[in-house]
Amino acid sequence: MLGEVLMSLFILVVSLFLYYEATQLRQLRTYESVGPDFWPKLILLGMIIFSAYLTVSNLIKWKKSRRESINKGEIINQKGEGWGRILIATFLIIGYVYLLKPLGFIISTPLFIIGMMLLIRPERKKVIPFAVLGIMVIIYIIFGKLLFVPLPKGFGIFHDISIILGL
């Protein structure tokens, strides 16, 4: 329930910030009465109203359920299941995309696959080399050979490695 409150609060804060940004568009208003700021402001106003409503109603529900739990003597367990895994997965994806430019597709992708496979099922290490090879070959055939997509080659020595490996 706290997550619900935080989610709607986040939407509210972002909407307020964007509404402020939209008001800056007013200076650019042209001859039209319905200028470039009208539609975004209308949308953001809706988002502010609905997210504020959800924040308040969720907050009331959360406080009520918390009070009931305390009255019943229940232990409130705030520890979320699987959040650590999701955080690591997100960082792995961000890291992969960040390294994609300097290291190139052919170097960074196996590193990412290994990281993700160890994260999802660390006990199944034996399949990792086959999975890396399989995924790389499929992607290379589809994007490199069939669709002629120039996948990132990386900089310096990594660029040379990508060229040697035929990317």
């Binding site: 650019l28 539609w39 994806i93 696959i113 496979m117 399949v127 997509v149």
Partner: protein
């Protein structure tokens, strides 16, 4: 019309187009059948693969993938009680019970037959209705198009019936995302924050791939669900003539219901399947038998969901208004290939339109052969563990998004939407309205502003013609449909009590 049918047929029977239909149907069956890889996700992933193809080939691939994925959602539902897609859930109830009785092959056979019949029925209705509707739509001006877009947006209440406020926030998010970039009327930059990546707006492909594919992988990683393989041997046995004779009325009625539901914007194959099943139960002389493992319980929802899939193409092709996430993705595919669905498509690209009709017929027919083949090897495919499938999907997404414009900014957009999609799913904000907002936002805004400029800033122009007034009225009704439905139930209950 006959001329275009012939041209469409000639275009589709070209060997490479036939091959594309077979590939599309095969991918669709695989994607629909594997839990966690929905047909919508498969369409999102297939769009980057269409860049190197021509518009006809691309759309044939996507429509055949779409049609077959709707069918395949029930395979794993019947075999393992794990529907591959939401639209396969209703058939699971009786299908799995049949499988438990040792009638899995019969259940899968009824599933194939009713899906194919439903799909063909829906496509025939699509081919008959769409050109007529397109003729009417030719009369539309900015105010009618604005009203149409509002009608499309009004369906959020049906899409997110569980929590209307969250569905509205979701659609508003989509509408906002569509405003980012250079304003098409004034030419001013909006919400670009000094980045060049956002000047042309938030790209559609990274948005949908992030929201549907990557977010789903993140969700599964968190839940650790579906990460172990399921082992089973399976085959399908098509129903006998006696059984077909027994089921024909039920299948045709469900197909008609499904087609009608599919045409309604925002109410897709899943609703079609559930309504198909509930109507079958209502009409049955033995409603108590449903859920115990009878072929009728498989035939009704499966005929309805495939018919709904064809029906959903009606508003997309004739009005350019997608009614579901899958058709919104298809609209994106049209736009990528320089085509604008709507009445003009029937005038400018009639052969393409009729090729789509023929392809949908063939894709549905191909299910008979491909499904039998795939079901045999299906157990092998779904044994693929998620620690291989998950990273594979993400890499496919990254490569696919990068392929759009060779722009790393697009990959970051995909990641942002993946994180947003993950949290939206986690806290029950429906994602489909966001996609509807992204697609319909520019149509609504541009036509609203054009209508206002033409009328000299008179807001009454928006309801000045009967069509626009009716459409706006329908939008309001659609938006408040859950409340109206609840009120209706209350009134009926009160009358019943008296």
């Amino acid at each position: 019309m006959f001329y275009y049918w012939t041209q469409g047929l000639l275009s589709v029977i070209e060997p490479h187009h036939l091959l594309i239909i077979v590939i599309g149907s095969s991918i669709g069956i695989l994607a629909g059948g594997i839990p966690g890889v929905s047909g919508t996700m498969a369409i999102a992933l297939a769009i980057p693969m269409t860049y190197a193809m021509g518009p006809t080939a691309s759309l044939l691939l996507l429509v055949s993938l779409y049609a077959s994925s709707v069918y395949a959602g029930s395979i794993s539902g019947i075999l393992f009680r794990t529907p591959g897609a939401p639209e396969g859930a209703p058939a699971t109830l009786d299908g799995y019970e049949m499988a438990k009785k040792g009638l899995a092959a019969e259940a899968l056979g009824v599933d194939i037959f009713s899906s194919v019949t439903g799909g063909i029925f829906g496509t025939i209705i699509l081919a008959l209705v769409a050109p007529q509707l397109a003729k009417v739509a030719l009369e539309f001006g900015p105010s009618e198009y604005f009203a149409l877009a509002v009608l499309g947006l009004g369906v959020v209440s049906s899409v997110g019936a569980k929590n209307e406020s969250k569905a509205i926030i979701s659609v508003l998010m989509g509408l906002f995302v569509a405003t980012v970039g250079i304003d098409m009327i004034s030419g001013f930059n909006r919400f670009t924050f000094g980045t060049t990546t956002l000047l042309s707006g938030v790209s559609f492909i990274p948005t949908i791939i992030g929201l549907f594919a990557v977010a789903e992988v993140l969700k599964r990683i968190r839940e650790k669900r579906g990460m172990t393989g399921i082992r089973s041997k399976a085959r399908a046995k098509l129903p006998s003539l006696k059984l077909i004779n027994k089921l024909k009325g039920l299948i045709l009625r469900s197909a008609a219901i499904g087609t009608f539901i599919g045409i309604l914007p925002g109410v897709g194959a899943t609703t079609g399947a559930f309504v198909g099943l509930s109507e079958a139960i209502r009409w049955s002389k033995h409603p108590e038998k449903y859920g115990t493992g009878i072929p009728e319980g498989v035939a009704a929802p499966e005929a309805a969901n495939n018919a709904a899939c064809s029906g959903a193409m009606v508003p997309l092709l004739t009005l350019g208004i997608p009614g579901s996430a899958a058709t919104a993705l298809m609209l994106g595919a049209f736009l990528i290939h320089g085509l604008r669905p709507g009445p003009m498509l029937f005038i400018q690209q009639p052969v393409l339109v009729y090729s789509i009709f023929v392809a949908m017929l063939l894709a549905n027919l191909s299910i008979i052969i491909l499904a039998k083949l795939f079901i045999r090897y299906f157990s092998k495919v779904i044994e693929l563990p998620y620690n291989v499938l998950g990273p594979g999907i993400i890499i496919f997404c990254v490569a696919g998004v990068f392929a759009v414009r060779n722009n790393f900014g697009d990959i970051w957009i995909m990641i942002i939407f993946a994180i947003l999609g993950f949290f939206m799913e986690k806290y029950n904000y429906p994602v489909a309205p966001l996609i509807l907002g992204v697609v319909l936002g520019p149509i609504a805004e541009q036509n609203l502003r054009q209508a206002m400029i033409i009328s000299g800033n008179n807001p009454m122009v928006l309801v000045s013609t009967p069509i626009s007034a009716i459409l706006i009225g329908l939008s309001v009704l659609s938006l408040f449909s859950p409340q109206l439905r609840a009120l209706w139930v209350k009134i009926r209950a009160a009358k019943g009590g008296n």
